[in-house]
Assembly symmetry: C2
Homo-oligomer: 269 residues x 2
């Protein structure tokens, strides 16, 4: 492991870690993303498809993290700084004292996802927690990947990665284009697309039988999917008690994915 002591917050070697929050919110244009915390670092090292560029840890964390850090490739620098210097670089207190920087690299093309039996498709999901939770659920229920439109927020945002329990680092995803294009491409590839909606005329989820290839399509928090999209797919609702017509969007996805997974498993027996 190549540790590099950092004593000055202006050291150019830790420049990718400067003002993390502000740059995350503005959107990074340098092709990099930041990972925070021990669990996500360990997934980044063990099973991610992304190239790690550097690790940045608080000095007091060097010893407790030695097992994970032993997996850092020898050519990747592990910057080590006193906690105060680290906080000064990042612009806020890094309580966990563990950061890493990786490169997004070449994005997958949509064809990468089309062999999957189950896909999750996110349309206009603008909340990082919801995108992260959607990835966690997609991974838990064996979806082969996630397709996101350009309006949805970035799964490689620091908080999305954490909420995804690291799934955003290894579950294949493609973020490109619009819902209209997604529907055309998925239908050509043989997917039955379940557009999740509170419409009372939609089919009730638990009475459906998943097809060999099923895509679960989730729309924006608040307004939900546009009618023009729903009308091109199979509208599917989750039965709810009177007076309620909405649950959290990632939760709706979890219910649909769990049902597809359990039903297709039962079919395999």
């Amino acid at each position: 492991m190549r540790t590099v002591p950092i004593s000055d917050a202006d050291d150019p070697r830790v420049a990718p870690y400067v003002s993390i929050r502000e740059r995350d919110l503005a959107g990074r244009s340098d092709g990099r993303f930041i990972v925070e915390g021990k669990v996500t670092l360990s997934i980044l090292l063990e099973r991610s498809r992304f190239e790690i560029e550097s690790v940045f840890i608080g000095r007091s964390r060097l010893e407790p993290l030695s097992e994970i850090l032993a997996q850092v490739p020898p050519e990747v620098p592990v910057y080590v700084a006193p906690q105060a210097v680290m906080d000064q670089v990042a612009g806020f207190p890094i309580h966990r004292g563990v950061l890493a920087c990786a490169r997004k690299g070449q994005p997958f093309g949509v064809e990468k996802l089309l062999d999957a039996e189950t896909l999750l498709v996110l349309n206009g999901i603008s909340n990082h927690d919801n995108v992260g939770a959607a990835f966690r659920n997609a991974a838990a229920f064996g979806a082969g990947g996630v397709l996101l439109d350009e309006q949805s927020c970035d799964p490689l945002y620091r908080k999305s990665i954490r909420v995804s329990a690291g799934a955003a680092l290894w579950l294949p995803f493609v973020q490109a284009g619009q819902g209209e294009d997604h529907i055309t491409g998925l239908q050509s590839a043989g997917f039955d697309i379940w557009a999740m909606t509170p419409r009372t005329t939609a089919a009730e989820l638990h009475q459906l039988k998943p097809s060999a290839k099923t895509a679960i399509l989730l729309g924006p928090e608040g307004p939900g999917l546009e009618d023009a999209l729903i009308d091109r797919c199979r509208p599917v609702r989750i039965a709810m008690a009177g007076g309620f017509d909405s649950i959290n969007v990632a939760t709706a996805g979890a219910i649909a994915l769990a049902y597809c997974h359990a039903t297709s498993m039962a079919g395999d027996d």
Copy 2:
């Protein structure tokens, strides 16, 4: 509507709103709780079982909120202050500019819940977001109430209420005792208790048929339910993909509740 202008942050009439965060975290001993935001205020006024004591709003919100405020009973004061005074009282910026204070009143006894067909039972849920999400899901899927042990956190904490989409204000709940007592009481009342667990020997949720009375039991984030509790109930798992054995606890509850609701609805046809 009785509006009362407040110009001084030390005015004793707004004392219940002083240092909201600190007092929320320490736990209030005065039998009051605070509600934040327009949607939750509206539920507090329209369908909650709690007695509202006062409303506290930023001056600029008086006009846009006039419709909701018209529902405030005439004996309840609506304190109105400049935003800066309001923030100074609360101890942090109240972006939405809407607070209300209500009394917890006499708690329900457990018997209040025992007529329900479906109950949600929370054991050691120590995260306010998860308690709030669990209430939102319980309401969406028609559970008759929520039973919480003493270790779980307070559903009337400001953030829990908000995440619950206000369900914590109207869905009956009882927070008392321990998991052991809950199991004894629910079984005496005829409930089939589904203890949600990743145990591979547990029954798979989607292959079960809910009983006339079903209770969904959820355990702490991380460790999950204790074996001694699971062994007294029907262990139920949600099938997941290899390598994953855990999803968010409120999400697990949502999947089980949605399945019970859809299955019992289908049985009613």
